[in-house]
Amino acid sequence: MVSTQDIAKHFVDAKGNRVKAVDGVSFEASPGKIFGLLGCNGAGKTTTLRILSTVIKPTAGRATVAGYDVVDHPEKVRASIGFMSTSTALYGRLQAKEVIEYFGQLFGLEGQRLKERVAYVMDKLQIHEFGDRLCDKLSTGQKQRVNIARTILHDPPVLFFDEPTAGLDVVVSQTVMEFIEEARDMGKTIIFSTHIMSEAERLCDQISVIHEGTIRGSGTVQQLKEQTREVTLEKAFLKLVEFESSYQREAEVTA
């Protein structure tokens, strides 16, 4: 389970101005469900996930992951999570299998258990055929399979996906989404951040729309549509983030 209560993250930018990257975000994600964080680029999705994965500390608020407080027990939180994003890369000079083994060791796996888990994820994601190839030589799809293997190797109860399909072709995206659905069916708690409406509609049981660091609306896809009286999630989202098209603006000016 993942829970956040009014978490905030404020930065001071290069000009000395205080920037509120995240400001009072609260939500709860449960096991066997996919919780979606829907927002534009720069909305605060990645910052929220970084707080939850203990890479950065919140300026205010409280968050727990798998029962551990992110500030008080960061190592225990990290041992309970798997994190995947298209922006996270692999070590180019290591073979695919070496990368998987390395992260297994960092997550405390060793000996027979490590061997078994490596063999399992390599079988499951069909990595054997390119397991001894350097990551620099892998295709995007192959890299993403290794990334998934690295994420699930230690069998964490909580999984974070930060725009996991950004920049991927439709086939690789499909693999990633199927994997997320499978993880949900296995009872994992999943937080999925995206700006792609179709993915959110397909995967998410609960969604929070995040914009300029604040939550603008929460609920199921249907509830968001009802709240905004819109027929599509895309339109509901645009309403929640108070998007005004240039066409609408011109029409208002003319009137």
Binding site: F11, R50, S53, T54, V55, I56, K57, E75, K76, R78, A79, I81, F83, S85, S87, T88, A89, L90, Y91, G92, R93, L94, E98, Y102, F103, Q105, L106, F107, G108, L134, R150
Partner: protein
């Protein structure tokens, strides 16, 4: 500790697979040392032999020219103006114009040369030596024919007695250059990999996944630090291997520079390792601190390039320290980098200074520890990930 080992092993594996690191840290020092010793040895060996030198002489019947012909390649010139012109154009190093014998029996030889040309000065000193020997012989003959002992030509004679300190070994030239090269390679060997270790990971987006593992940031830093220190040490040792290879393979030029052998005694080796270990730790921590602070690999390279002057200047001074009294003065042991090079130098000369070595190890170790604390602090800041 196990996590530190895992990070260390992964970094070492990556280093060994990187062509740039292999050439910079392993093959580079070996190749450069071979090139350096062979190149300098050949040039200096050639310069020291008078048979390889050419002098220009004004055409003359003077019997002294036969003496010069035995020592040099002699080229005769028709007149003084032509000889002077050859010097001006740089076509001749020294031009000798024999004058007329004075009534007192003294023969004046005008030696034309360019005072800025080092080669000309070497030839001139060789010519002076030959003329001095000829003068001495002539004086001895005159004294003997007058019934006086030949030793009257030299009422006071300076007898040079070499005192062998330690084992016979490499000459002063190698002794002054070798510590410099060992220290320099300890720094430059780690240069290329240092930028990759943190700044490169940030740039390539592999750092975030590493930070999300349960390993503490201090453990990650220590793993990376030990890997970089190992690389710095390997690079330094590679330069020594290159030096040994030159001697073992008896490559051209070594006969002049390594007349007395390598000169690395077991004591010198022990002192070298003792002072080198904290020095590589200091360099590794320094390189890693820049890599951790920088936004990307390029920025890290800029910082490290600037920092390299702080290493090069004191290391370079160690080459000249033999010309001063500073080599044996205590304060040198408190100057980072210079203390390391000077201790290696003294050990190679067969004069190990154990107290100086202890001070050097302590100073370098303290600086390394301090820099490591800085790296750990930098790495524990959120900016390690967010400052892009």
């Amino acid at each position: 500790m196990n996590y530190v080992k895992q990070v260390y092993l992964k970094e070492v594996r990556e280093m060994l697979r990187d062509k740039r690191t292999r050439s910079m840290a392993f093959f580079g020092p070996i190749f450069m040392m071979i090139l350096f010793v062979c190149g300098f040895g050949s040039i200096l060996g050639s310069v020291s032999k008078t048979q390889n030198q050419t002098i220009h002489v004004l055409k003359t019947e003077n019997p002294l020219t036969q003496l010069l012909e035995k020592a040099f390649k002699v080229v005769y010139v028709e007149n003084e103006q032509a000889g002077e012109e050859l010097i001006r154009k740089g076509d001749a190093k020294v031009f000798l114009a024999f004058g007329a014998q004075t009534t007192g029996g003294q023969l004046d030889i005008d030696a034309y040369f360019d005072p800025k040309a080092q080669g000309a000065q070497i030839v001139l000193s060789q010519v002076s030596g030959i003329i001095e020997t000829a003068n001495k012989k002539a004086l001895e003959q005159t004294l003997t024919s007058s019934g006086l002992p030949a030793t009257a030509a030299e009422p006071v004679k300076l007898v040079k007695k070499e005192v062998q300190i330690g084992e016979k070994g490499a000459g002063e030239f190698i002794v002054s250059m070798l510590p410099y090269l060992i220290v320099i390679w300890a720094f430059y060997g780690g240069f290329s990999m240092a930028t990759d270790l943190v700044a490169g990971e940030k740039e390539k987006a592999t750092l975030e996944t590493l930070l999300i593992s349960p390993v503490t940031r201090t453990q990650i830093v220590l793993g990376k630090f030990f890997a970089l220190a190992s690389l710095c040490l390997a690079s330094s040792v590679s330069s020594l291997i290159g030096f040994m290879l030159v001697s073992l393979l008896k490559l051209p030029g070594t006969s002049f520079l390594l007349k007395g052998g390598l000169g690395i005694t077991p004591t010198a080796a022990i002192v070298t390792i003792l002072v080198l270990l904290p020095t590589v730790a200091m360099f590794a921590a320094c390189l890693l601190s820049f890599s951790t602070y920088a936004k990307n690999a390029r920025e890290a390279q800029s910082y490290i390039s600037l920092a390299s002057f702080v290493v090069v200047v004191p290391a370079a001074f160690s080459q000249l320290i033999g010309l001063t009294d500073a080599a044996n003065q205590g304060w040198v042991n408190f100057v980072p980098v210079l203390n390391t090079a000077n201790n290696i130098r003294n050990a190679l000369l067969g004069k190990p200074d154990w107290i100086g070595t202890a001070i050097t190890v302590t100073i370098s170790g303290l600086i390394a520890a301090l820099l490591l604390v800085v790296v750990v602090r930098l790495f524990n800041r959120e900016e390690v990930l967010t400052r892009v």
